[in-house]
């Protein structure tokens, strides 16, 4: 729409409308400035030798020394590798499942049953990892665990799966899915309620089967939500739940189990004199997250004709 074609009355109304929105946004912007942007100055300690008594401003600059130290450690590289693997597998496997679950749940016609499934599916979200982890141990226990009981039943021999390095990533993935499937599907269920009922009726009249309706009506209807969720998720690629790793990791799987967050914890970096190095690690996570978000956002915009991005 060319600006010249607007009447002056309409333009002044537009401007008033903009001012209203800016004014409305002001408290939100102030909150962000105070609680996010002011403390953000603390990031500079990634390039300092931070001493608590001297404070952030008084500590010495050390340039990239903290990064040089990090990259000299073999376990740091291993932690990066493990985190990327776990993050990717969560993005690839754990992200689509709640969508699928929401779609299938939406096809349940008995309303009461649907509500029941929905309510139970999100219960694991309320069990903290320290308890959920205990249940994972219980399930996998070589002595009494259900999994090993089944294996013995079919003639196999029991193994302590939680103590075997090559299974650890899978255990993390499965327990993650179990804990978050129902909860993550809530957004998609809410999005599905927004799909125009008339489209279903039309599709039905056109003779579309169930899968065609899902494919041609429901999925396009929640396409933008999926895109936005994927973009937000991708920014978290290096943030595998610390509490989950903390409870599941053990001496036998230190090589495949250590994530960046656990690395920071194990090295004691988030305490006393090591805040600088911990901040250096988190800055890496932020920058990787930023690139992931920019990348997925661009890709998503291209795929959805500019609608599916977050900007």
């Amino acid at each position: 729409m060319a600006a010249a074609s607007l009447s002056s009355r309409k333009r002044s109304r537009m401007q008033r409308k903009y001012w209203e929105i800016y004014l409305l946004f002001l408290p939100v912007a102030v909150w962000y400035l105070i609680f996010c942007y002011i403390p953000m100055g603390g990031i500079i300690i990634a390039f300092k030798d931070f001493k608590i008594l001297r404070g952030i401003a008084g500590s010495k600059w050390v340039g990239f020394a903290n990064y040089a130290y990090l990259f000299s450690l073999p376990s740091f590289k291993k932690a990066v590798e493990n985190t990327v693997i776990m993050g990717l597998q969560q993005l690839i496997f754990a992200f689509p499942l709640p969508i699928l679950f929401a779609l299938l749940l939406n096809e349940v016609t008995n309303l009461r049953f649907k509500k029941l499934v929905q309510t139970t599916s999100y219960l694991p979200h309320f069990i903290s990892w320290s308890v959920a982890g205990g249940l994972v141990y219980m399930l996998l226990s070589p002595n009494t665990g259900t999994l090993n009981n089944l294996i013995v039943l079919f003639g196999g021999s029991p193994r302590n799966y939680i103590g075997i390095s090559r299974y650890f990533h899978r255990i993390v993935l499965f327990s993650h899915i179990w804990k978050h499937l129902g909860w993550s599907s809530i957004v998609f269920l809410a999005a599905i309620t927004g799909v125009d009922e008339q489209l279903y009726d039309a599709a039905y009249i056109d003779g579309a089967g169930r899968f065609q309706r899902i494919w041609h009506v429901t999925l396009p209807g929640i396409r933008n939500t999926i895109a936005v969720m994927l973009i937000l998720e991708s920014g978290n690629i290096l943030s595998v739940s610390f509490n989950q790793i903390y409870i599941l990791i053990n001496d036998a799987v230190l090589d495949t189990g250590e994530t960046l967050d656990y690395f920071v914890y194990r090295m004691g970096l988030s305490s006393a004199n090591n805040f600088s190095v911990a901040t250096a690690v988190s800055l890496i996570k932020s920058i990787v997250g930023l690139f992931m978000i920019l990348g997925t956002n661009a890709a998503s915009r291209r795929l959805t004709d500019g609608e599916g991005g977050i900007w």
Partner: protein, 292 residues
């Protein structure tokens, strides 16, 4: 509804498959909570000697009595309630405003505003500067310290914005022609249409506030001000602390059942919130109002 015998074969197969799958998921999802619930009512020897616990061996209420004998618990409940109710209200207010502004795609500077917000999801200054800020604002040892600094969850705001964007453009144009200003459009048209999304985000905030313990352990040192989750966390952690000390804390070590009872007492109220919110997920709310 279509009658069973009138369905096509593939339709029947799908229904049977889908129902079975849903039941399976239900069982897998419900077991952990069921386990905790059952253990909280069981005796110690029952838990120790049963491989696969399905039922409690009677109704042992000792753990619950012990939970409520803790003088911090009633206060902690009130603190949690305050944090959840006040926090969620504040958060929803700010989030709706923010999401509404961000959903105006025609607004000059729209992308800049979005970037301004999204950037904070990725970069943060870390614990010390935030602590100093909260301290400077005189919020240490107040319940505000666990509400105000986390009032906006950008993630939720973006989701909300996405829901707002999905509302047809024609509505706004129609409202503008009728002479409604932006605030009127938000209050009279957009909000009534966004039942499901507001319910979702309310749920997210309420559950987050209810479950939060991390900041309360950092900003609050007065025990009377701690929320339930922080108390639960302390109970859970006490077992670990034993290894640091000379193992003198013999009887204060929490038993399994006490832990389980704590979890039930802490989680149950917020779980009960969901069914109330669920009615907003009923299909056709938005469409219906659009037609009307």
């Amino acid at each position: 509804m279509v009658k069973w015998h009138a369905m096509s074969r593939s339709e029947r197969v799908f229904r049977v498959f889908n129902t079975c799958l849903m039941i399976l998921i239900m069982v897998i999802m419900i077991y952990p909570f069921w386990y905790v619930l059952v253990c909280s009512f069981s005796s110690l020897s029952h838990i120790q000697n049963t491989t696969f616990i399905l039922w409690p061996d009677g109704l042992h209420l000792e753990s619950y009595q012990q939970v409520f004998r803790n003088e911090l618990v009633p206060n902690a409940y009130l603190n949690t309630l305050f944090i959840t109710i006040v926090g969620t209200s504040l958060s929803i207010l700010l989030t709706i405003i923010g999401a509404f502004c961000l959903s105006r795609r025609s607004l000059p500077g729209h992308n800049l505003m979005t970037a301004f917000v999204v950037f904070t999801m990725l970069f943060n200054g870390g614990l010390i500067p935030t602590y100093l800020l909260v301290r400077e604002l005189k919020m240490i040892n107040t319940l505000w310290s666990v509400i105000v600094p986390t009032a906006i969850n950008t993630y939720n705001m973006i989701i909300m914005r996405n829901f707002f964007s999905a509302v047809p453009q024609e509505l706004e144009e129609a409202a503008t022609i009728d002479g409604a200003n932006q605030r009127q459009y938000l209050l009279r048209i957009l909000l009534p249409l966004s039942g499901a999304s507001i319910a979702t985000i309310t749920l997210f905030y309420a559950v987050d506030y209810w479950n939060a313990y991390f900041y309360s352990l950092i900003y609050i040192t007065k025990r009377q001000l701690l929320p339930m989750q922080a108390i639960l966390r302390q109970v859970l952690m006490t077992t670990e602390i034993e290894t640091i000390m000379y193992d003198a804390a013999v009887q204060t070590l929490p038993s399994e059942m006490l832990k389980d009872a704590m979890i039930v007492v802490t989680a149950l109220p917020i779980i009960c919130l969901y069914p109330f919110i669920q009615r907003y997920f009923v299909k056709g709310v938005m469409v219906g109002s659009l037609k009307g």
